[in-house]
């Protein structure tokens, strides 16, 4: 049976592609910011482009923090994409301004130290062992467009919860390009724009939810 996926609509960029790519791999997808619809979905995708602060404003306007908290508390899957990944961290530091994130993960999002920014184009991922998200596509390149990123995630596991799987990419410096942490996954790159590799990753995620 097809999974019901909601792409969270909070006024951020090109969300049509997220919807269409998930439909392409077999999901029923609606774009919505209705509180209950977002809670009821099998999986919630949080896209995001542009400034961290603007995305957080948009998320707050649709009670996104509450939606994410409630979903994760019930082990219901959430996938953050690009700035949708960044906002899961404690803070974003852009242009000298510190903005509080959704604080699901410790650590700050800062500018990448690289000669050429934005980091734009197709890059490799150092995939950690045991990844479900990258099953079959660990050697592929994915499409990035960003200048900021989390550099690491200091989160240990407990008896009941496995430690997060962390995947890295290097552009100037090494940064966190994807995380799998129980029901919360995120990618700094755009799977919906990463051709066949991206579609496979989305199909893998659908297989988890």
């Amino acid at each position: 049976m097809s999974k019901n996926i909601v792409v969270l609509d909070y006024g951020s960029g090109n969300i049509r592609s997220a919807q269409k790519s998930l439909q392409h791999v077999g999901a029923n997808v609606v774009i919505s910011n209705d509180f209950q619809t977002c809670l009821d979905a099998d999986g919630l995708v949080i896209p995001g482009v542009g400034a961290f602060a603007a995305c957080i404003d948009g998320i707050r306007n649709v009670r996104g923090l509450e939606i994410v908290d409630k979903r994760l508390a019930g082990s219901r899957f959430v996938l953050g994409i690009c700035v949708g990944m960044q906002i899961m961290f404690e803070n974003g530091l852009e242009h000298g301004v510190k903005t509080q994130g959704l604080q699901q993960w410790p650590g700050d999002v800062t500018q990448i130290d690289a000669t050429i920014l934005p980091h734009m184009g197709w890059n490799n991922i150092e995939v950690s062992q045991g990844s479900r998200l990258f099953d079959g596509v660990a050697e592929e390149k994915f499409y990035f467009v960003h200048s900021f990123a989390a550099k690491n995630l200091d989160l240990v596991g407990t008896e009941k919860i496995d430690p997060p799987l962390k995947h890295y990419t290097t552009h100037g410096e090494r940064f966190l390009s994807s995380v799998e942490n129980g029901p919360l996954s995120a990618t700094q790159f755009h799977p919906e724009k990463s051709g066949e590799a991206g579609l496979q990753l989305l199909a893998n995620w659908l297989g988890c939810v």
Binding site: S17, H24, V49, A51, P118, G121, N123, V137, H146, K193
Partner: protein, 258 residues
């Protein structure tokens, strides 16, 4: 460096159909944009660029429809340029499924538009497209000036100074079109690429002059992060796959197809 050099086919779209002529004159119909974009994605294009060259701006819906249909079927980045004059134009295109938009003449006429677009949507959506050509005019201290109308009109601006200003105002990428080389199939304008690269730290797409597979590597060496071409791809003179093989043979990182 694992970040791949991108190969970008550009489709000139007039009233919903793909066309491309020599130096933007003598247009020849070369097909349906959605099908062409899909074909290029399958052939290994790393991005697709649509340039809307429709003379009439009355029916913007035609282009939006092309963008929608393409974004629904092709899951690689899509850039759209041509006739974008306002933040509202950008908003419509992004909602239709474009990932980036490129502006050229409208930014020259109204440089604040660059700030407005990047403030609203982020600099990563905004490509500043610059039609540059050689000149001995004094104002062009880099030796290159900015032109409009397919290279026929001078703007009285130095190409390097304008590129730097556009990036400072918020452009996240530069599409550098050599009007001296466009349509010549004589190779990219290496001198122009080197001059712009030396002062600009956003990604640089080189365009104009691609004629054969061996033309691409010198442009990468000169500093291009991505290479854009139109007619040589449309008329199957060269294949994207062969360009990538040539780059790979020169130790340039490329993306292979699954």
């Amino acid at each position: 460096m694992p970040l791949a050099t991108r190969i970008i086919p550009c489709l000139d779209v007039d009233n919903g159909r793909v066309v491309k002529g020599i130096n933007f004159k003598n247009l020849v119909d070369a097909g349906d944009p959605v099908q062409l974009a899909k074909m290029y994605a399958e052939q290994g294009a790393d991005e697709i660029t649509f340039l809307d060259i429709s003379a009439s701006r009355d029916n913007k819906e035609t282009m939006l429809d092309v963008v929608r249909k393409t974004a629904d079927a092709v899951f690689i980045p899509l850039t759209v340029g041509g006739g974008i004059k306002s933040v509202a134009d950008v908003d419509y295109l992004l909602r239709a499924g474009a990932d980036k938009i490129s502006i050229n003449t409208s930014a020259i006429n109204n440089p604040d538009l660059i700030n407005e677009i990047s403030n609203r949507f982020g600099s990563q959506v905004l490509v500043i497209s610059i039609d540059a050509r050689r000149t001995s005019e004094k104002y062009a201290t880099s030796g290159f000036e900015v032109t409009t109308h397919g290279g026929t009109k001078s703007c009285g601006l130095d190409a390097l100074a304008w590129t730097i200003e556009a990036v400072q105002r918020g452009a996240g990428e530069v599409l550098l079109n050599s009007m001296d080389k466009d349509g010549t199939k004589d190779g990219f304008d290496l001198e122009l690429i080197e001059i712009i690269r030396s002062k600009v730290s956003v990604p640089l797409i080189a365009s104009g002059g691609a004629g054969k597979v061996s033309d691409f590597y010198p442009a990468v060496k000169a500093g291009a992060n991505a290479l854009l071409a139109a007619s040589v791809f449309h008329f199957q003179d060269i294949k994207i796959e062969d360009v990538k093989k040539e780059l790979q043979a020169n130790n340039v990182e490329i993306r292979s197809q699954i």
